[in-house]
C-alpha cells in the first residue's frame, strides 16, 4: 500500500512538473499553509497563488447527523477572544478540531498518510495555550509530521517582496502595528489595540438597531428600533459581516460640521452624502434600510482617538517614533495594510491622509512625503497566507516542531520556553 502511494506521489510530481506550472516543483514537499484567524481560517497548499478557501469559524450544529456533503451551518462565531480564559480552551479545542477535520478531509483532501508538513502563520503574541492547542489538534488528531510556526507579519511582508516595512494588521480582534527591518521584527516597537473588526461589527449592529428601518414588500416602513426582540434574530453575525463586507466603507475624516451630537441621548450621528441602501433579508421580502452615514461611519471607532485612547493612526505614529531614526523613512515608504478590516474601501485612503496630517502635527514634516502604502495584488486578508505559500514552496528549511519532539515534550517553542528545542545544548 505504501509502495503504491509513493509511486502515486512520484507520478504526481512528474505530472505537476510537466503539465501544471502553478504547483510547486517539489511536489512531495508541498506543505499545508494554515492562517488561523479568530474569524476565518485561511488554508491551502504551498505554491498555489491563493488559499483554497477562507473558512469562517462557524458553530456547526450537527455535522454527524447529516448525509455526506451537507453541513448544518450555524452562525459565525470567533474561535477565540482576546481575553482568553484558560478554561475555555477545551471548548476552543473541540471547535478547532471540527474545523481541522473539515479542512483536511473535505477541502484539502489530505489524510495522515500524505505526511504533509504544516506551516502555521502565528501572531507573534499568540497565547501559548492556543499555540499548544493548535499543535495538539494537528499532532494528535491529524498526525502531521511537523509544524512550522512563522510570524504572520513577516509572511505578509514577503507577499509583496519587501524586506522592510511597517505592517499594519487590522484583523477581527485587534489591530497591531509592527515594523519589520531586513526580515527582522522589531518587537519592542509593536503597538496593539484591542479594537478591530469585531468592534466595528458591534458598532454597526448598534447603529443599525438605532437608526435603520425595515421595509416590507408591501411598501410599509418601520424603524428598526420598534423590533428590539428581533434584532438578534435578524442581525446574526453572518448578516453583520455581510453588510460590513459589501456596503460599508470608510469616509474621510469627519468635519466638525458633519458631526451631530444629540445632547439628550448622547448619541453621535453624522451628516453624510452617502446613499441609503436596502439590504435584503429573508428571501428579499424584507429590506433593512441602512442610512448612508451608518455605512460610512461604522468604522469610525478605529480612528476615534477620543473614545478609544488609541487609533490606527496613533499606533502607527507611536510605532514609528519608537524605531531608530534611520529606518523610519524606509518604514513609511513601505506601509503594508493587512487583515480583513483593512479591505474596507477608503481605509487605505483614510490612513494615508490622516497619517500625513498627524506627521505634520508631530513635527515630522520631512517624513510626510515618504508615506506610501504598498500596493499588493493580493487581497489584504490573504496576504499572510500568500507569504506562507511562497515560503513553503521554496527550498528552505524552517524551524519545525516534529511529531517526535511533541510526543516527548508536549510543548511548542515560544518566547517563554524557546530552549525546549535546544535542551541538549543547554545542558552542555
Amino acid at each position: 500500500m505504501s509502495d503504491m502511494s509513493v509511486k502515486d506521489l512520484l507520478h504526481q510530481t512528474a505530472l505537476n512538473q510537466l503539465s501544471n506550472k502553478r504547483t510547486t516543483a517539489y511536489g512531495i514537499d508541498q506543505k499545508i499553509i494554515i492562517d488561523i484567524g479568530s474569524l476565518y481560517i485561511k488554508f491551502g497548499l504551498s505554491g498555489e497563488a491563493s488559499p483554497r478557501q477562507c473558512l469562517p469559524n462557524r458553530i456547526y450544529e450537527n455535522i454527524e447527523h447529516c448525509p455526506e456533503g451537507v453541513l448544518v451551518e450555524g452562525d459565525i462565531k470567533p474561535l477565540y477572544q482576546l481575553v482568553l480564559n484558560p478554561f475555555e480552551i477545551p471548548e476552543i479545542y473541540e471547535r478547532f478540531k471540527e474545523q481541522v477535520k473539515l479542512i483536511f478531509y473535505r477541502f484539502m483532501m489530505s489524510d495522515y498518510k500524505h505526511k504533509r508538513k504544516v506551516l502555521i502563520a502565528e501572531n507573534l503574541l499568540l497565547p501559548l495555550e492556543l499555540k499548544n492547542m493548535i499543535a495538539a489538534v494537528l499532532f494528535e488528531y491529524m498526525n502531521v509530521p511537523s509544524i512550522i510556526f512563522a510570524p504572520s507579519q513577516l509572511l505578509a511582508i514577503t507577499s509583496v517582496g519587501k524586506k522592510t516595512g511597517l505592517v499594519v494588521d487590522c484583523g477581527y480582534l485587534e489591530t497591531t502595528v509592527l515594523p519589520i527591518s531586513d526580515y527582522g521584527c522589531l518587537l519592542h516597537s509593536i503597538k496593539t489595540m484591542p479594537c478591530a473588526g469585531q468592534d466595528i461589527s458591534n458598532n454597526l449592529k448598534k447603529l443599525i438597531i438605532e437608526n435603520a428601518s425595515i421595509s416590507f414588500d408591501d411598501g410599509k416602513i418601520f424603524p428598526f428600533s420598534k423590533y428590539p426582540n428581533y434584532s438578534d434574530e435578524i442581525l446574526t453575525n453572518y448578516i453583520i459581516e455581510d453588510i460590513k463586507a459589501s456596503v460599508c466603507f470608510v469616509g474621510l475624516k469627519p468635519d466638525s460640521t458633519e458631526i451631530i451630537y444629540d445632547e439628550k441621548t448622547h448619541h453621535i450621528s453624522y451628516r453624510s452624502s452617502a446613499s441609503e441602501i436596502g439590504y435584503p433579508i429573508e428571501n428579499r421580502r424584507i429590506k433593512i434600510l441602512i442610512p448612508g452615514w451608518v455605512r460610512e461611519r461604522a468604522a469610525e471607532i478605529l480612528f476615534d482617538e477620543e473614545r478609544n485612547e488609541a487609533s490606527v493612526i496613533s499606533l502607527i505614529i507611536d510605532s514609528i517614533k519608537s524605531t531608530p531614526t534611520d529606518i523610519r523613512k524606509s518604514l513609511l515608504q513601505n506601509i503594508l495594510l493587512i487583515g480583513g478590516t483593512s479591505m474596507l474601501p477608503g481605509f487605505c485612503y483614510r490612513v494615508s491622509q490622516e497619517l500625513k496630517e498627524r506627521l505634520k502635527e508631530d513635527h515630522l514634516e520631512n517624513l510626510v512625503k515618504e508615506v506610501t502604502i504598498i500596493r499588493s495584488k493580493f487581497p489584504a486578508n490573504t496576504a499572510t497566507w500568500i507569504g506562507g505559500s511562497i515560503l513553503g514552496s521554496l527550498k528552505y528549511e524552517g524551524q519545525e516542531v516534529t511529531l517526535q519532539q511533541w510526543n516527548e515534550t508536549h510543548k511548542v517553542p515560544d518566547w517563554s520556553n524557546y530552549s525546549i528545542l535546544n535542551e541538549e545544548e543547554n545542558q552542555i
Binding site: E64, Y112, Y183, A245, G251, A274, S393, Y396, G398
Partner: protein
C-alpha cells in the same frame, strides 16, 4: 453574553422527542483529559488516558452536556470488535478510498487530485451565485440567429436554478467540450497568478544565488533548529523566519546585481490610494445592492474576493472523497466500502462494516404509558426495549443517576452526598474545593490520579473552575432535563437471548413464563423493561435521563467467523471468557407541559 450563550445552548438542544442517544467512549477520554487539564493546566497525552478506559471508568463519567454535538445516535456509532469500545466519527482515523466528482461521478485518480486543486477536470462547473451546477448551452438554442451565417456557435454556461449566464461576465466558448482548458488559459494570466509566480521566482533566485554559501548557511540553519547554539538564546530569533534572512542578506552582499528588493513594475506610488478612493466614492453613491456580491460568494473566490458580481469567475466543482474508517486505537478497519478495480463511485456496497448497532444492545422506547403530555409529579412508565444483535446471550445491567428527593434544583449536591449510591457521578459535590485548584493540582496530578480512578469508591475528578463548572452543570440546571425527573428501574439486570436469524419470521410462540419483576415482555432477542419516570421539574423543562448500560457476554464460538459482518469477530477474546462492555445512553421522553385540570 450569557443570555446569548443560553439561547444557543437551547437551540442546540432541540432534539425532537422521544430519543435515545449514546455517549461515545471518546467523550469519557476527553472528559478525563479535561479534568486533568483543569487540575494541572497541562494537557495530558491521549494514550495513557485511553488505556485507562474500561467499563468501570466509563461508569464514572455520565454524559453531562445534553447537546446534539456530543451525543450520538446508535446509527452514527462504530464498535471496534477487537478493543470492544464504541467509537464515534470524532475518534476514528479516516483515510481516502477514492476521489470522485459529485456531479459526473467520475473517479479521479489520486495523482491528479492535487495538481488539479481538488476540482473536477471535466465539464463540471459551479454557479458562482448560487453554487449549483452549470450546464452548457449553445447560443443558438436561445436566440434564433438570423441570417448571420457565421457558423460559429457560441457556447456559454448557465445555471438552471438562478438563471445566471456566463455571458454576464463576458465568458463564452467556441467549443462545447474541453471548457476547462479554455478556462485555464484565462486563469493563468490573472494578475494574482502572475504576481505570485514573479514573487516566487524572485525569492528562488535570491536563495539560489548563494548556493555556494550553503555550507555556512546550513550550519547557521541547523543552529536555528537548535543543534548548536550559544548565540541563539535571544528569543528574538524566533521572530525571524530562520535562514531566510541570512540567505537573502547574503545574496545582497554577494551579488549586487541581483536586486534584493522585489521590484513592483514601476507604478505611481499613489495608485493604491487613488484606487481606494475611487472605490470608496463608488460605494458612497451606490443605489442598490443588486450588483454586489454576498459574503459567501466572496469567500468562494478567495484570490480576489470581488465586490461586484461582474468580477465573479466560474469555478470547477470541488471533488468529494470516500473515506474508510479505522479504529483510532488498534487501527482495525471499521468501515470500508467495496472498491472494485474499476472504482465506481456510485457503488455503495460495503466490504467491512462494524457499526455499533450490530454489536451493542439497541435501546428503543417502546411505549410511554400513559402516552399523554407529561405533567409535574405525575409518574409515567416508559417501556424500554433492549434488542440483542449478537448471536450470543448477553446479560445486561442498568444503573441510573441517583434520584433527588428534593424538588429544589439547587439541592442536587446535598442529595448526592446523602444518597451516595454505588455510582455517584456527581461533580457538584466537590464544588467547594474547586477554587483551590492550584493547591490541589499536585494532588490531582495525572499520575497519582490514575489508580484511584479505577476504584469505584472514588468520585471522579471534577472540573476545577468556575466558568466551566457552570457550563458543565448547566445541563443539570438550565437544560433542566436531567434533574427534572426521578427514575426508577426495577429490573436492574436481565438476560437477553441471542439473535437467531432463522427465527426472524417466526411467530411469537414464547410461553409466558413467570417474568422477572420490572420486565414487561420478552420476545425473541429482545427484552422490554419498565422504567418509571416522575417528572419533577418546572413547566417547559425537558425530561431526559441518562442510564448506564453494562452488558457482558461469553464468547462461545470456538472459531471466529470473519466473513459475516453480523456475527462479531472477537478475535482477542479467548473462548469462554466473559467480557464486560458499558456505555451511557440518554433517553429523552418529552417536555413537561402545563397542568390542565380539565
Amino acid at each position: 453574553m450569557d443570555e446569548i450563550k443560553n439561547k444557543n445552548k437551547n437551540k442546540n438542544n432541540n432534539i425532537p422527542f422521544p430519543y435515545v442517544y449514546y455517549q461515545c467512549t471518546c467523550q469519557v477520554v476527553s472528559k478525563i483529559r479535561k479534568d486533568i487539564y483543569f487540575s494541572t493546566f497541562q494537557f495530558p497525552l491521549k494514550e495513557p488516558v485511553e488505556s485507562e478506559i474500561n467499563s468501570t471508568t466509563i461508569s464514572h463519567f455520565p454524559p453531562t452536556h445534553f447537546n446534539h454535538h456530543r451525543l450520538k445516535s446508535i446509527y452514527d456509532l462504530f464498535f471496534c470488535p477487537s478493543c470492544c469500545e464504541l467509537h464515534c466519527p470524532d475518534c476514528v482515523k479516516n483515510d481516502f478510498l477514492c476521489f470522485y466528482c459529485p456531479n459526473c461521478l467520475f473517479d479521479v485518480p489520486q495523482a491528479s487530485v492535487v495538481s488539479e486543486q481538488n476540482r473536477c477536470i471535466r465539464n463540471c462547473f459551479e454557479c458562482p451565485i448560487c453554487f449549483n451546477v452549470l450546464t452548457v448551452i449553445s447560443q443558438q438554442d436561445t436566440i434564433n440567429t438570423t441570417a448571420t451565417d457565421d457558423e460559429q456557435t457560441v457556447y456559454f454556461l448557465a445555471c438552471n436554478v438562478c438563471q445566471w449566464k456566463s455571458l454576464e461576465i463576458n465568458l463564452s466558448f467556441d467549443k462545447s467540450t474541453g471548457l476547462y482548458l479554455q478556462l485555464q488559459k484565462k486563469e493563468s494570466i490573472l494578475p494574482h497568478e502572475v504576481e505570485f509566480q514573479n514573487l516566487r521566482n524572485h525569492y528562488d533566485k535570491c536563495l539560489r544565488s548563494n548556493n555556494n554559501m550553503n555550507n555556512i548557511n546550513t550550519k547557521r540553519l541547523s543552529a536555528l533548529f537548535g543543534n548548536t547554539s550559544s548565540f541563539l538564546y535571544s528569543p528574538s530569533i524566533i521572530s525571524h523566519i530562520p535562514d531566510l534572512k541570512t540567505k537573502l542578506i547574503q545574496a545582497k552582499r554577494d551579488n549586487n546585481q541581483i536586486s534584493d528588493e522585489y521590484n513592483n513594475s514601476s507604478e505611481n506610488k499613489d495608485t493604491q490610494v487613488m484606487e481606494d478612493e475611487l472605490e470608496m466614492i463608488n460605494l458612497k453613491n451606490l443605489e442598490n445592492m443588486d450588483e454586489l456580491t454576498s459574503l459567501k460568494q466572496k469567500l468562494n473566490q478567495p484570490e480576489d474576493q470581488p465586490r461586484y458580481l461582474k468580477q465573479l469567475r466560474i469555478h470547477r466543482i470541488p471533488l468529494r472523497v470516500k473515506l474508510q474508517t479505522k479504529c483510532d486505537k488498534c487501527e482495525k478497519i471499521l468501515v470500508k466500502q467495496e472498491v472494485q478495480k474499476m472504482k465506481k463511485p456510485s457503488n455503495i456496497r460495503f466490504s467491512i462494516k462494524s457499526f455499533a448497532r450490530d454489536y451493542i444492545p439497541n435501546i428503543f422506547i417502546q411505549k410511554i404509558i400513559p402516552n399523554n403530555k407529561l405533567h409535574k409529579d405525575i409518574p409515567v412508565q416508559v417501556l424500554l426495549k433492549f434488542v440483542n444483535p449478537l448471536s450470543q446471550e448477553i446479560s445486561v445491567s442498568i444503573s441510573t443517576l441517583p434520584n433527588k428527593q428534593n424538588e429544589d434544583k439547587m439541592d442536587i449536591d446535598m442529595d448526592s452526598k446523602k444518597n451516595s449510591p454505588i455510582i455517584t457521578p456527581k461533580f457538584s459535590s466537590r464544588k467547594s474545593s474547586l477554587n483551590l485548584s492550584p493547591i490541589l493540582s499536585p494532588i490531582l496530578s495525572p499520575k497519582k490520579r490514575k489508580k484511584p480512578s479505577l476504584k469505584i469508591s472514588t468520585a471522579p475528578i471534577i472540573p476545577i473552575n468556575p466558568t466551566t463548572t457552570t457550563k458543565i452543570k448547566n445541563p443539570y440546571k438550565e437544560n433542566a432535563g436531567v434533574a427534572t425527573c426521578n427514575v426508577t428501574v426495577l429490573a436492574k439486570s436481565f438476560k437477553i437471548p441471542a439473535y437467531d436469524p432463522t427465527k426472524e419470521f417466526e411467530n411469537d410462540t414464547e410461553s409466558n413464563e413467570q417474568n422477572q419483576v420490572g420486565i414487561f415482555e420478552k420476545k425473541k432477542n429482545s427484552v422490554s423493561i419498565i422504567v418509571e419516570v416522575r417528572p419533577t421539574g418546572d413547566i417547559g423543562d425537558r425530561v431526559e435521563f441518562p442510564i448506564l448500560v453494562t452488558y457482558s457476554f461469553v464468547n462461545n464460538e470456538k472459531e471466529v467467523n470473519n466473513e459475516t459482518p453480523i456475527s462479531p469477530n472477537y478475535a482477542e477474546l479467548s473462548h469462554g471468557v466473559q467480557k464486560f462492555v458499558s456505555f451511557w445512553s440518554v433517553i429523552g421522553i418529552g417536555e413537561i407541559s402545563k397542568e390542565c385540570f380539565d
